[in-house]
């Protein structure tokens, strides 16, 4: 067997000898994807720690462990990390990088050096965010926890008045946004230019469609929040007045501009996740996907409609009634393409030869949790209901079901699906399944009670609460413990498998897309030794067996 991408690499600058420098300077899309994953999950656990701190504090009413102010900083830290450093780079940065070029038969992304630069821009953004954590008072030897306390939304005017380190956090947000834009740009050009000969748009795997739709959101929506953060910074430094009511500035305008990005951003998170689902479902049902075109086009239309619905975050902010009605109406439309996808997946499984491997378990679990997240979303899209539920734990539970139970679960599904591709080894499936069970149960125990508490009026971002909500918070706490145990278990299983896993060959799942037809496992540096001519659809199965087969020169032999 030849060398794999772990053994050799191309670098952005020079030809360093040391393995460490080879990783730092690598332009190989697979290595860059792995590095993103390592950094992202590190931050993920920091944010989970912040969340656990909050859960401890909320175990009973009144103050226990931390001050009210620290609680505010904790949920801001949790939100900022989870959103800007974890889930926005998220699936595109990891699997978009690792598998998307493999799926279209490319040797790398279109601008490999830009990709390298983007990764370091992301790291730079993370470092800036870390600097906003503490203020050091050298003369007194004090370290003050000064992270922003505004919530991850930085709403004006409070964000302009607070004396915590909002500016550095905004700068970090801007830099991370730039990194996200450049990732999207790179992927768009890659998908337009580097598809293998014969692969038309409607022959691309659906994950590539998800990445494509996402990239458009990254490209066109992120600049809006970028400039909003810049305006907020200028406001704080120079007092340009734009968001400051004492000069006539309108805080509602800040909310408009912020959500013009941040709402499409949630589709930016979920679309590639749906893409992963569309890969896993046919592979483990051994059937061609039902309604390929509808799934592809629904990704595109979700991305399109996603731009038009930001206003549903502003129902209670003093927007005009006309605009509220328009936004409510438009928001319902998002549910249609999403629903289409769900029915397509279920129709794919119907009469399929379902194999309950770990990735499939995660995917099936997500069908349940995301359905809950999505449907509760429709309830709060209604202006009337939202006036009541806005800023309660109902909303919090809704988006945790959608983001944690949707995006992150599917990210985990993708991790289990592509793990053997990336490392050439297989993890212990029994243990992985136990981990799934813990996560799934823990997650529901953690968040379901919060729907009820929220419905009864438990407000979000509160450090204290009325005694009648105690029981829900305590159930939720237990759920959090189970969930975090499950997380640690899962990562332990995977990390141990990188060392001790059994070698599994290039196509352990009998899947059909191009990334499973590599010459060796793990893949070599420049991917497919020969690029195939693609005159087939991505998921062709016949009697539960893949139809398309290749010889060692990647010519079809069926």
């Amino acid at each position: 067997m030849g060398k794999s991408y772990f053994d050799e690499t191309h670098c952005a600058i020079g030809h360093p000898k040391s393995t460490f420098m080879q990783w730092m300077l690598t332009v190989d899309h697979k290595r860059i994807g792995i590095m993103y994953a390592v950094v992202m999950f590190t931050f993920f656990f920091v944010a989970v720690a912040a969340a656990l701190t909050m859960r401890f504090e909320l175990f009973s009413p009144g103050q226990q462990y931390i001050e009210a102010q620290t609680f505010n900083q904790a949920f801001t830290l949790h939100g900022v990390i989870m959103i800007f450093m974890f889930i926005i780079p998220g699936i595109p940065a990891v699997f978009g990088n690792i598998v998307m070029p493999l799926m279209i038969g490319a040797k790398d992304v279109s601008f490999p050096r830009l990709n390298w630069f983007t990764f370091w821009l992301y790291i730079f953004g993370c470092i800036v965010a870390l600097t906003s954590l503490f203020n050091f008072n050298i003369s007194e030897g004090e370290v003050l926890f000064k992270f922003a306390d505004t919530g991850w939304t930085f709403y004006a005017p409070y964000s302009l008045n607070t004396d915590t380190n909002v500016i550095t956090t905004l700068v970090a947000g801007f830099i991370l946004g730039m990194a996200s834009i450049l990732t999207g740009l790179n992927f768009l050009v890659t998908i337009h230019r580097l598809r293998a000969p014969g692969m038309e748009f409607f022959k691309m795997p659906l994950f590539v469609w998800g990445i494509y739709a996402t990239a458009w959101i990254q490209l066109l929506a992120t600049p809006v929040v970028g400039i909003t953060l810049v305006l907020a910074i200028l406001e704080k430094y120079f007092g340009i007045g734009i968001f400051d009511p004492s000069k006539g500035g309108d805080p509602v305008l800040f909310q408009h501009l912020f959500w013009i990005y941040s709402h499409p951003a949630v589709y930016l998170m979920i679309l590639p996740a749906f893409g992963i689902m569309s890969e896993i479902i046919p592979a483990f049902s051994r059937r061609e996907i039902f309604g390929y075109r509808t799934i592809a086009l629904s990704s595109a239309s979700i991305a399109g409609i996603g731009y038009l619905v930001w206003g549903h975050h502003l129902y209670t902010s003093g927007m005009s009634d006309t605009a509220k009605v328009i936004f409510s109406f438009l928001t319902f439309f998002v549910a249609i393409p999403t629903g289409i996808k769900f029915y397509d997946w279920i129709a794919t499984m119907y009469k399929g030869k379902i194999i309950l491997a770990t990735p499939m378990l995660w995917a099936l679990g997500t069908i349940i949790t995301f359905a809950v997240g999505g449907l509760t979303g429709v309830t709060i899209a209604m202006v009337g209901a939202d006036i009541h539920l806005q800023d309660t734990y109902y909303t919090i539970a809704h988006f945790h079901y959608a983001m944690l139970g949707g995006v992150v679960f599917l990210l985990f599904a993708g991790m289990h699906y592509w793990f053997p591709l990336v490392f050439g080894k297989m993890y212990n499936e029994t243990h992985a399944k136990i981990a799934f069970a813990l996560n799934f149960i823990g997650f529901n125990v953690l968040w379901f009670p919060m729907f009820i508490a929220g419905y009864m009026g438990m407000p979000r971002r509160y450090f204290d609460y009325l005694p009648e909500f105690q029981i829900y918070h305590q159930i939720s706490f237990i759920g959090a413990l189970i969930f975090v145990t499950g997380l640690i278990y899962m990562f332990t299983v995977l990390i141990r498998a990188t060392k001790n896993g059994k070698p599994c060959g290039p196509n352990p799942w009998n899947a059909t897309t191009l990334e499973w037809h590599l010459p060796s496992s793990p893949p070599p540096l420049e991917n497919h030794t020969k690029v195939p001519y693609v005159d087939f659809r991505p998921y062709e199965y016949h009697h539960g067996q893949p139809v398309v087969k290749f010889d060692e020169n990647m010519r079809r032999i069926d």
Binding site: L185, H192, R193, P197, V224, G241, D535
Partner: protein, 244 residues
């Protein structure tokens, strides 16, 4: 991103791969190396992000224009229209020289191309100089970020609409000026690449993209200029209000 189109190992020439289909027909595989169309597409996509950024700022501007129309017109009338107009013409000519430079490069006249790029840089500096004169004059009129006139609640305070107008004026012309500075930097870098023969008549994607960037900077000014300098030009009776 433009320089990515050079292979990391430009020592050996890139030979595209061939894929063979079932009939034995051969198809050229597009590689990322030396992909002119890809480089162009990538840069256009980048420019779209700029469009969205300035689009969002114009949105904010229009938001306040709707709320404070009269104040906006008054504030606009107080800007120096002739300096702004002069700068408009300067940028217009710089767009021409940049375009001609690219044309010369594509037709093999490297020396002429370099001359044109230098001319563009010169015009860009003129633009910045005029801008500096304008801002200084405004500062002496007491209108600048941080001065009393643009703060609320003192005896010099301007009305809300005017504070917002000037706040956005300094922000947007400032950011536009920042783009001009970046543009000058890019052009100097381009000259360096031309001298190093990394940009040649047959390999001019970098030149092409920087010319595009310069046009974009011009394009933004095409909207910034009338929005700030011209909207207050006609007075209620239909005549002209002249600035200071």
């Amino acid at each position: 991103m433009a320089h990515d189109s050079h292979d990391a190992h430009d020592s050996h020439v890139y030979v595209p791969e061939i894929a063979v289909d079932r009939e034995g027909k051969e198809h050229v595989v597009q590689g990322w190396q030396g992909d002119y169309e890809g480089g162009k597409l990538g840069f256009w996509l980048f420019m779209l992000t700029e469009v969205m950024m300035f689009g969002a700022m114009f949105l904010a501007l229009t938001y306040y224009y709707t709320l404070h129309q009269q104040d906006f017109l008054i504030a606009s009338a107080s800007l120096n229209r002739w300096l702004g107009g002069f700068n408009t013409v300067v940028l217009l000519f710089s767009a021409l020289t940049m375009g001609l430079g690219l044309l010369k490069m594509r037709h093999g006249d490297v020396k002429g191309a370099k001359l044109m790029i230098w001319t563009t840089i010169l015009l860009a500096l003129v633009f910045l100089g005029v801008k500096a004169v304008e801002w200084t004059a405004e500062y002496h009129h007491g209108i600048f970020l941080g001065l009393d006139a643009l703060q609320s609640g003192n005896e010099h305070s301007k009305p809300f609409g005017q504070i917002l107008f000037f706040g956005m004026y300094f922000t947007m012309t400032g950011l536009h000026g920042f783009h001009i500075i970046i543009g000058i930097g890019l052009m100097l870098w381009l000259l360096k690449r031309i001298n190093a023969q990394k940009v040649t008549p047959d390999h001019n994607i970098l030149h092409f993209n920087i010319a595009l960037y310069w046009d974009l900077v011009h394009l933004i000014w095409v909207f910034v200029f009338p929005y700030f300098y011209m909207i207050g030009a006609g007075d209620i009776a239909g005549g002209v209000v002249h600035g200071h």
